[in-house]
């Protein structure tokens, strides 16, 4: 992870660590904080705790998002301090709806000048963000809204598995990782497990990102904690609850970053510190395997 972030994330970059509740690469976010990257534009539908921590860590100049909260708990307080009180400095924001953000990645991935959608009518969102623009259908059937393409310099995707070439497979919530990866200049894939190419080829329907667009593969089991990985571990909801009081106090946030990010050299140390009991408690309560399908041989 250290090398991937050092080589591929540069000061001033637009960075998207995607994953909707599921598969959020906290390991990459922490490494970016640890390497003291600066002036990043952070893009994500739901900034979640990882961007609250990264903003508190001073890596970000700007935030592009569509839902700013601690899911199921409350607000993102480090980010709110920057927006409401410019404390410890202002944070530029560019705000959309979920569909708008998904459309932006889609246009970025498909090399389109904009993405049209039936949203934003009669709302204040286009006033708050002039990049959301009303356009006339060229076929004379009314107005829609357009959002511009989003092309991150770097997209980070956490996944269940990939092979060494970066052919990446995901199950569970898919979010918009595929769109964000295809839209990006550089792609870092972080996986729970590195597998043989034969495993990938045995189930090609499950591949969301081909190695063709991947610049680095990092093997980092539990790298999505405290978010979750379908089938491997549950969300550590206790941490999401604990973050609320921590994040309300800037001193407590900096102390937390010192203890859990700057004070550790990577994910293995983080897991040791978390403890085997906590880790074990996050395993799914049972197994729910998919039925298998037969792709057939055609020689």
């Amino acid at each position: 992870m250290r090398d991937a972030v050092a080589d591929l994330v540069r000061d001033g970059d637009t960075v998207a660590i995607e994953g909707f509740t599921h598969l959020i690469s906290f390991a990459a976010g922490h490494e970016i904080i640890r390497q003291r990257k600066r002036d990043l534009t952070l893009a994500r539908l739901t900034p979640d705790l990882i961007y609250d921590q990264m903003v508190a860590g001073g890596v970000a100049r700007k935030l592009i998002f569509s839902w700013l909260g601690n899911p199921g708990v409350g607000g993102l307080n480090a980010i709110r301090r920057r927006i409401e009180d410019a404390n410890p400095g202002p944070l530029e924001v560019e705000e959309y709806s979920h569909f708008g953000m998904v459309g932006r990645y889609t246009a970025g991935a498909a090399n389109l000048p904009f993405y049209p959608l039936r949203s934003y009518f009669e709302t204040d969102l286009p006033k708050a963000n002039p990049l959301i623009r009303e356009i006339e259908s060229p076929y004379g059937d009314g107005k829609v809204y357009a959002v511009p393409p989003l092309r991150p310099d770097v997209t980070v995707v956490h996944a269940q598995r990939a092979d060494a070439a970066g052919n990446t497979q995901v199950w569970g919530l898919l979010g918009c990782q595929k769109e964000a990866a295809f839209a990006a200049e550089r792609v870092i894939v972080v996986v729970e497990e590195l597998v043989d190419e034969a495993i990938i080829r045995a189930d090609p329907n499950r591949t969301i990102i081909p190695g063709l667009i991947v610049d680095a593969v990092v093997v980092e089991p539990w790298g999505a904690h405290p978010s979750y990985v379908q089938g491997a571990y549950d969300r550590d909801n206790r941490f999401y609850l604990d973050w609320d009081p921590i994040s309300r106090d800037e001193t407590a946030v900096q102390a937390w970053l010192g203890e859990w990010v700057y004070g550790l050299d990577g994910r293995a140390a983080y897991l040791d510190k978390l403890g085997s009991e906590r880790v074990a408690s996050l395993r799914p309560s049972g197994s729910a395997p998919s039925g298998s399908v037969d792709y057939g041989q055609y020689r």
Binding site: H22, W67, P71, E84, S97, H98, R118, E122, L125, K178
Partner: protein
């Protein structure tokens, strides 16, 4: 089995009333927060065949526990389909397959327009920064109808919302219907607002009308927690109390920690 429960909280009454409104509905897009528990209660009571749609990209969820968030792994296991968010928003929502979008709100006005973005007049320097739209803006436009669940207070039921995140009946039913038709919106807008005091539907002018008061709630309490003079049905009904089974489901199965129901 637990003993019959008779006493209940205002939040429990609100969630039960909201769940009952889903009787007869088929496909429901589940919003963040209170809608999540109301919809999951409906699925176990009045609407067992309800197809739950989550913006995270799930159609036909069968959550085995109350999802802690709308991206919980329990909405995936056993679902009919997991889709990309692009597919969910494009084909399912914008494609017109959603009967009810169930939303929460920070501020609402008499016409059901919703603010979840900022409190304060200046967007760039808000008094309080709220989460923002998420999927709510496009849900309000494209779901066939919109249900809202939220607690009532002078701060939340306001004459003028600070920011319009999700459109309701705009400035009144007539103009809203014309704009919705002209601009090709699929939705007809808000139809129900359930609070901790009562149940509102929308009258022919597009304004909220109190149709039912929850047991123990008074018109005085309603007027004290609403920023305009509320319209009342000719005969305001009393919402039937939660049944022991509804209370058991909430307290034992769905929310034993009481995070929604206290």
């Amino acid at each position: 089995m637990t003993e019959p429960q008779t006493r209940f909280s205002r939040s429990e009454m609100m969630i039960v009333a909201a769940a009952r409104e889903l009787a007869g509905q088929h496909v429901c897009f589940v919003g963040v927060g209170l809608p999540n528990i109301a919809v999951n209660l409906a699925k176990r009571t009045v609407a067992p065949d309800l197809e739950l749609v989550y913006e995270a990209g799930v159609f036909g969820a069968e959550p085995a526990r109350l999802p802690l968030s709308i991206g919980d792994p329990t909405i995936v296991t056993g679902a009919i389909a997991v889709t990309s968010m692009f597919e969910l928003f494009s084909f399912y929502l914008q494609g017109g397959l959603i009967d009810v979008g169930f939303l929460g709100a920070a501020q609402i006005d008499r016409f059901g327009n919703i603010n979840t973005t900022v409190i304060g007049d200046d967007y760039a320097h808000p008094k309080t920064r709220l989460p923002g739209s998420g999927g709510a803006c496009e849900i309000a436009i494209n779901a066939r109808q919109v249900f809202v669940i939220m607690r009532q207070s002078k701060r939340s039921f306001v004459e003028r919302i600070d920011f319009r995140t999700s459109p309701g009946n705009l400035g009144g039913a007539e103009a809203a219907a014309r704009i919705r038709r002209e601009q090709g919106w699929l939705g007809s807008g808000p139809s129900v607002v359930v609070t901790d005091l009562g149940i509102y539907h929308f009258d022919e002018t597009g304004e909220m009308r109190l149709d039912s008061l929850h047991p123990g709630a008074t018109l005085k309490a309603v007027r004290e927690t609403i920023g305009w003079e509320p319209r009342l049905a000719e005969n305001v009904a009393t919402t039937p109390e939660p049944t022991p089974e509804e209370l058991r489901l909430m307290r034992v199965e769905l929310d034993p920690g009481g995070s929604y129901t206290k």
